[in-house]
């Protein structure tokens, strides 16, 4: 009897263990990255005998281009080819959701979860879909939580929860999870943006500005953030900065704006901005920081602009200005030289180059730079002053005085000191 009991105890323990093991969260499964190596046209040419990887990449490119119907067709074909791959079902769900086939999309995401219970992304996709029309709030929250159970360290997962709270006006709860998301990954632009919206709703404009700026630092193609930031600057009295952001927003809007914001969060089709536009985004932000005296932050934005478009003369110039402000004239000089070599008609850069040369004691070169600046803009008071100094330093006192007198005369006309 004792022996029987012992075995029975072991048996029960084993059952509990198995039950415990079975109830634990499945292992997190990550979608395999899709990295197309060819152009869309190349993929389209080779579609006839395509292998699954080819279809993944083609469908992904279609999603990126917003061609959701074509993406759906490709992923439907992919699912037929590899019915046991959760990734294929997931991407089909994305395409279906974007085609407003909500019921089918839900089935695809669930199918993906059947195949890979650890696919947290499918839970989050479901959460966004449930939340979409306003009547699936609780289901949406539950689905978001299911995803987080699989991956507590996911900034995107926390963003999804925050977005759902946000959509119901639950700003305190939204703030809590969105802050967590941004802690986990400050580059999570969605989380930064919706955190900014929470602050905006509370009329905490300063906090909203910070979060909105973080959004754009994380993703300069986050078009709507330029609008929101512009209105925030304007409302807080920085009309010129606000107008600049709004002008830029107007240049960009319509290009990558998706009408349906829910789907935007579900799977952002990052139609990348043109390099010049992306650079302009960084540049505009850099200008704001520069005006605020946040020199390092500004320089990072100008550097980012240059990393996208190295021929951005104004960005080169402004980095030069920042170095000059910090007293690093050698570094400044290099950037000013670069700016004028890219854009020889850039009067301001010639003038600032002249200033840096003056500081370095290269009076003759400074004179040349000031003269170039003044040839482009004869009314540049600082240029005339600089030229005067360069001439005087070379011993050409009378010429120098004439130039300075001209500067004084112009300043009086313009009403400036």
């Amino acid at each position: 009897m004792v022996k029987y009991l012992q075995w029975s105890t072991v048996g029960v323990s084993l059952c509990f263990f198995m039950l415990w093991a079975g109830c634990g969260p499945p292992e997190r499964y990550h979608l395999r990255p899709i990295i197309p190596s060819e152009s869309l046209e190349e993929y389209e040419r080779g579609v006839a005998g395509a292998d699954p990887q080819h279809l993944y990449e083609l469908g992904w490119l279609y999603l990126q281009k917003g061609r959701t119907r074509a993406a759906k067709a490709v992923f439907t074909r992919l699912v037929e080819r590899v019915p046991d791959e959760a990734d294929a079902h997931f991407y089909l769900g994305v395409a279906q959701a974007k085609e407003h086939e909500k019921t089918q999309a839900i089935l695809s995401f669930r199918h993906a979860l059947d195949l890979r219970p650890g696919l947290a992304d499918a839970h989050w996709a479901l959460a966004l879909l449930y939340n979409e029309r306003g009547d699936g709030y609780q289901d949406a929250l539950s689905a978001a939580e299911e995803g987080l159970k699989l991956d507590r360290a996911s900034a995107y997962g926390h963003f999804v929860s925050g977005f759902i709270f946000c959509s119901r006006g639950e700003n305190e709860r939204a703030e809590q999870v969105l802050l967590k998301a941004t802690e986990l990954d400050p580059q999570q632009a969605h989380a930064q943006y919706y955190l900014a919206l929470v602050y905006l709703r509370r009329q905490d404009d300063e906090k909203a500005i910070v979060a909105m700026e973080h959004t754009l630092e994380a993703d300069p193609s986050y078009t709507e953030a330029y609008y929101s930031l512009g209105t925030l600057y304007a409302r807080t009295g920085r009309i010129e900065d606000g107008q600049r952001m709004i002008d830029f927003f107007q240049q960009l809007s319509g290009m990558d704006m998706e009408e349906d914001h829910y789907h935007r969060q579900l799977y952002r089709s990052t139609q990348p901005l043109l390099p010049q536009q992306q650079a302009a985004g960084h540049f505009n932000l850099g200008l704001v920081y520069l005006k605020r005296g946040e020199l390092d932050r500004a320089r990072r934005q100008f550097q980012s602009a240059l990393s996208v478009d190295s021929t951005y003369a104004e960005a080169q110039h402004n980095i030069g200005v920042i170095y000059a402000l910090k007293g690093k004239h050698e570094e400044a000089l290099a950037y000013f030289i670069s700016a004028v070599s890219i854009k020889p008609s850039y009067a301001l850069a010639h003038k600032n180059l002249g200033n840096s040369l003056l500081v370095q004691g290269a009076y003759q070169r400074a004179e040349e730079s000031f003269r170039r600046a003044l040839a482009l803009d004869g009314d540049m008071i600082e240029g005339l002053n600089g030229l005067g100094t360069a001439l005087i330093q070379q011993g050409r006192i009378e010429e120098g005085r004439v130039s300075r007198d001209r500067a004084v005369e112009l300043a009086a006309k313009k009403g400036s000191p």
Binding site: R133, G134, G169, E224, G230, R235
Partner: protein
């Protein structure tokens, strides 16, 4: 306590919590009830608008209505615009607009034919305005087709003088909004226009004919917008002729799809600015700087949703809902999107307060049209009504969370948030139709606000407010000087027990409709208005003090209170 009770306790607590938190708990509401009395009142007038299937965009937008006193007998009459169909009608069988004379005791008679105002054509919006300052309210009809200006002859008849006065724009207009925009004393008007519409046009890009997987009619996206216009009134010496002076005013840079417009002093600088709800394009806010307008909607954060998207603007309401002394804005939008409340920060800059006030989340599944702030329960704050109804009948055969017929919504202002109380607000608020324009006014002169609502392809809803006058009230009629007798653009601030309420006389309200221009103030339990300040359109201020409640007063420019009671006097 027995074990059995302990086990039940968590359940009981849960239930108690659910009851306390449930805003639809019928026991929590004991306010006014709205009853639909349209049929008994004789307001049986079908609004026709194309085919039931809605094959073209023009078939889904009509629906203006006006509450105004056309015969100066002291009560509100009702005008109902009517639509048409693209293939036309046999002569004599066309749908006609209706003018329903208020005979008292909730009975109305259609006198449109005898008054010569049974307009035939595809009507959209209506504005009631005394454009020629003769003391008789005229009507401007915005149409798909030539617009009409019906001059009230003062003898119960109207004459269409649109062509004669240069205001018969022939296109697709939505509504007219009158105001003294150039400060010369007479009434100019802003005309919102929608689409440069060609029913035979077949779009090259059929993606515009698909909405959430449903095949739908084409537009407005993909169609050319029709430019709005601003007409200047040349005054009495010209015979009250108007001239399209849009360019001189600085208007007309956009070809947006315009629906509703509201003129109010949004930046508190004493002149009339114009806000426009545009469909599928950014909304506009034209700031008035000495008769020169510039669109500042983008920079003031009133063009888009909070997340920078253009919305499908339909109707428009404005009031100082939060009692901070400036005009806020509310715009109704398409379904699967939220209606938007723009809270004014005081200097004409706005913050999107849709989701902090609950109005956003309550509007996702509905498609809003007519809307207006009004104090339905006379408690001294501004509540909000939204008329709903989809444009695509096909939504009923798809599981996308919305329906063609929708319940209208009444939001009670609870301070920081608005609570939807339509479910408890009486049977009249349970009606489900596809509603469009609506107008608010005290139809039975009993001190609370009633409503008329236009329903497309259907008869209107006439909502009688029962119990709103349990609390006190004051109705103020302003008589302006010179050419602006209705005192359009005047601002009145009433102070009751230390609390201020701000009202402006608006021309053109809600969705292409016209509310009563008398200003209604709920006084709560207060028995009088302690201090009432009128700022007339020319900037002159006038103060009246200690006005007993539960009456209507008429204040004339420079004369203070000139009469009490509902009878119309002509100072």
């Amino acid at each position: 306590m027995g074990e059995k009770y302990l086990r039940l306790l968590p359940f009981a607590l849960l239930m108690a919590c659910a009851t306390a938190d449930d805003p639809k708990d019928s026991r929590a509401y004991s306010g006014p009830q709205f009853y639909d009395v349209a049929v008994e009142a004789g307001l049986v007038h079908k609004t026709v608008s194309g085919t039931p299937e809605k094959q073209h965009i023009v078939e889904c937008n009509t629906g203006g209505t006006a509450l105004f006193d056309y015969d100066n007998d002291g009560d509100l009459d009702i005008y109902l615009v009517n639509g048409s169909r693209l293939q036309g009608y046999v002569l004599g069988e066309e749908p006609r607009a209706g003018l329903f004379r208020n005979d008292g005791d909730w009975h109305f008679t259609n006198v449109a034919a005898q008054a010569g105002i049974d307009h035939v054509g595809w009507g959209m919006g209506v504005t009631a305005v005394d454009y020629n300052a003769d003391g008789h309210t005229d009507l401007y009809l915005a149409n798909y087709g030539p617009n009409a200006l019906y001059r009230n002859e003062g003898d119960g008849s109207f004459s269409n003088v649109a062509e004669e006065l240069g205001v018969g724009f022939d296109g697709w207009s939505s509504a007219a909004t009158f105001g003294d925009y150039d400060g010369d004393g007479d009434l100019d008007f802003y005309l919102t226009n929608y689409i440069d519409f060609d029913p035979d046009y077949v779009p090259a890009d059929m993606s515009f004919c698909n909405w959430r997987g449903i095949n739908v009619f084409y537009g407005p996206r993909g169609m050319p917008g029709e430019r709005d216009r601003l007409y200047r009134n040349d005054g009495a010496t010209s015979g009250w002729a108007f001239v399209d002076d849009s360019a001189a005013f600085g208007i007309g840079g956009h070809d947006y799809y315009g629906f509703a417009a509201l003129a109010g002093d949004y930046d508190n600088d004493g002149d009339l600015d114009i806000y426009i709800a545009n469909d599928s394009t950014p909304n506009s806010l034209y700031r008035n700087d000495g008769g020169q307008f510039s669109d500042v909607a983008l920079i003031t954060a009133s063009a888009y949703s909070e997340d920078g998207r253009e919305q499908g603007g339909m109707g428009l309401a404005s009031s100082d809902y939060d009692g901070d002394g400036d005009l806020d804005l509310f715009v109704t939008n398409f379904s699967h999107d939220n209606n938007t409340l723009y809270k004014n920060n005081g200097r004409g800059f706005f913050t999107d307060a849709s989701f902090t006030t609950s109005l956003g989340k309550e509007s996702i599944t509905s498609l809003g049209w007519g809307t207006g702030f009004f104090d339905y329960d006379n408690d001294g704050d501004d509540d909000l009504f939204v008329a709903n109804g989809h444009v695509y009948p096909a939504v009923d055969s798809h599981d996308i969370g919305t329906r063609y017929f929708q319940r209208n919504q009444l939001f009670n202002n609870d301070g920081d948030v608005f609570a939807e109380i339509g479910q408890q607000g009486g049977p009249g608020l349970q009606v489900e139709k596809s509603s469009r324009g609506h107008a608010v006014g005290d139809i039975d002169n009993d001190g609370d606000l009633d409503m008329v609502i236009v329903n497309i392809d259907n008869t209107p809803t006439l909502l009688r407010n029962d119990g709103g006058n349990d609390k006190n009230w004051l109705l103020v009629r302003l008589v302006g000087n010179g050419a602006n007798r209705q005192a359009i653009g005047s601002r009145v601030v009433a102070e009751v027990a230390g609390r201020k309420q701000l009202r402006e006389v608006h021309s053109g309200t809600g969705y292409i409709s016209q509310d009563d221009t008398r200003l209604h103030f709920g006084l709560g339990r207060g028995e009088q208005v302690d201090h009432l300040a009128v700022r007339w359109p020319d900037g002159r201020e006038e103060i009246v003090e200690n006005i007993a409640g539960n009456r209507m007063i008429t204040i004339a420019y420079g004369q203070g209170i000139v009469s009490e009671g509902f009878a119309v006097s002509q100072p």
